[in-house]
């Protein structure tokens, strides 16, 4: 692996995830988060070179809603800006690439979206093709159930495993004050909740939630001045699979496997099990098990710690869920995770996904030391 530029996460802020913020628009929710992230880094807006946002206007129902967000991002005098209709974790990747190209030294990455104002299931149905799949009324819950069925049918896990994974996440999530779900539960209790779409039960799925997020990234030389414990990016890779659901083996995630292998190789690690913490964006327990299989990690081994934050099952604010995973690894490695902190963590893996049935996956490997000298 050739030598790359050391880039670090130096700040992360989010609002606690709620079902519905009755008092603020998406832009109004984002403003205090950007302020807080910059304030914690001790940097003024003119210290930021580049900005990028992850949001989708379909979710907010506001044409050019992402442009409205510029008003609260400190973007004056004008600076370079980009917007992706993807989870903000993918935005962080773009900012990282810009830094590798030497085009900027500092960046803010934001995620925003008010899922409660529209109907996310209907909106996400439109990600499918308009000829065969979308008209069937497939929504992300039903395609996730198709994937979970394929996974169970392959004999890779049992229904009881799904309940156990969901319960572990939910109980981890009790200690994370930013979560929407914070009540302890048991696998037995979740296994008795009503079906959402079989084989997924309502207790295995996160409720609709919304928040706003802001991460600050900085290259070596700047990062040390902005944060007492920068969390350095050691490796990253993302892969996209086919759009046609029937053309993929839904019981596996070939894209996640390849992306993880490439990210680990960039980080100089032999296997995913070499990290201390893994944060996965799995919106149901079958996704988590498929991802862990792709990583070659046994969730029963106890190490690495998987989703100490509670993961996406405790809070799934569309467009920010993946960035929160990366933000959580920053919190873990910089001593900012509070009650859900994993003692002694110095390496972590953060994942995000986009599209139906884990269509696109990104993996980040981060560490408390610089990767390249």
């Amino acid at each position: 692996m050739s030598k790359l530029r050391n880039v670090a996460v130096v700040g992360f802020a989010q609002l606690p995830v709620v079902a519905r913020d009755e008092h603020r628009t998406a832009t109004e929710m984002l403003y205090p988060v950007v302020r807080q992230a910059l304030q914690e880094c001790g940097v003024h807006r003119d210290g930021i070179d580049y900005q990028i946002a992850g949001s989708t206007d379909y979710m907010d129902g506001r044409p050019f809603g992402f442009v409205a967000a510029l008003d609260v991002m400190g973007a004056w005098p004008p600076r370079q800006d980009l917007h992706l209709e993807m989870d903000a974790s993918f935005c962080a990747y773009y900012a990282w690439v810009r830094m590798q190209a030497g085009e900027c030294d500092t960046a803010i990455v934001v995620g925003h979206g008010k899922t409660s104002e529209g109907d996310p299931q209907r909106v996400l149905n439109l990600q499918l093709d308009p000829y065969y799949q979308a008209p069937l009324g497939l929504d992300p819950t039903s395609t996730a159930a198709l994937q979970a069925s394929a996974f169970l049918a392959r004999g890779a896990a049992t229904a009881a495993d799904l309940a156990a994974v969901a319960a572990r996440n939910r109980n981890n999530g009790v200690r994370n004050p930013d979560n929407q779900l914070r009540s302890p539960t048991t696998a037995n209790e979740l296994a008795q909740s009503p079906w959402a779409v079989e084989p997924l039960r309502q207790g295995y799925l996160p409720p609709v939630g919304e928040t706003a997020t802001c991460m600050v990234l900085a290259a070596e030389g700047k990062a040390e001045t902005l944060c007492d414990k920068p969390v350095w990016i050691h490796g990253v890779d993302h892969r996209t699979e086919l759009q046609t659901l029937g053309a993929r083996d839904l019981s596996r995630s070939a894209g996640a496997k390849l992306a993880a292998e490439r990210a680990l190789a960039m980080a100089g690690l032999a296997k995913a099990g070499d990290v201390d913490v893994i944060e996965l964006m799995a919106a149901n327990p079958a996704e988590e098990l498929i991802l862990l299989e792709a990583l070659g990690v046994d969730p029963r081994a106890g190490k690495p710690s998987i989703n100490p934050s509670g993961g996406a099952l405790c809070a799934n604010p569309v467009m920010s869920t993946g960035l929160i995973r990366l933000g959580e690894t920053f919190r873990q490695l910089s001593g900012r995770a509070g009650e859900h902190g994993v003692a002694g963590a110095s390496r972590a893996l953060a994942h995000a996904a986009q599209g139906h049935c884990l269509q696109t996956n990104i993996f980040w490997v981060v560490g408390s030391q610089r990767r390249w000298s």
């Binding site: 603020r24 628009t25 109004e28 302020r35 609260v72 004056w76 529209g118 109907d119 308009p130 000829y131």
Partner: protein
């Protein structure tokens, strides 16, 4: 088998229906409620003192909060305008009509407004105008509460008073 069909299905028609239920946001809710009382609210930048109408929570220019709501006048000055000669979807207005930017007295930026009760060719930059409100009991707390603006007959405002409020 692979020949294109001679007749039959050429198109797939799909109706996309996405309902939304927007939160107004506290600032806009207060602004809209005030319109019912013939009052126009703005928000004042904590750093520069500039007043934005309708109110916004932060100044895009200074990045500071606008934590104070203030009332501005329901009259001001035409800063720029255009004469519309083509029908606009959803608006049943007699052509031609004038759409203008109006900087209300006390506001740092202008709002969009119709100018009526004068000939289109008489509208000009610097012209003083005032709001014509819907009658009491008919205002709903929306932007239609101001029907349009009309000339006040006051002397024109000098350009330096509005050139930075276009």
């Amino acid at each position: 088998m692979n020949e294109p069909p001679k007749e039959g299905i050429k198109y797939v028609e799909t109706t996309v229906r996405l309902p939304y239920h927007y939160v107004a946001g506290d600032y806009k809710a207060l602004y809209l409620l005030a319109l019912k009382e013939k009052r126009i609210l703005g928000s004042k930048c904590d750093t520069t003192g500039k007043v934005f109408v309708p109110p916004i929570v932060a100044s895009p220019e200074s990045f500071a909060p606008c934590s104070q709501l203030v009332e501005v006048a329901d009259r001001g000055v035409v800063t720029t305008f255009c004469v519309v000669n083509i029908p606009v979807i959803g608006r049943n207005l007699e052509l031609p009509y004038v759409a203008a930017s109006v900087a209300l007295d006390g506001a740092a930026i202008s709002i969009f407004a119709l100018i009526q009760e004068c000939k289109p060719q008489d509208v000009h930059m610097g012209m003083r105008v005032e709001a014509v409100w819907k009658p009491d009991g008919e205002r709903q707390g929306d932007h239609e509460d101001i029907q349009y603006f009309r000339p006040t007959g006051e002397p024109d405002a000098p350009p330096e008073t509005y050139i930075n409020r276009l």
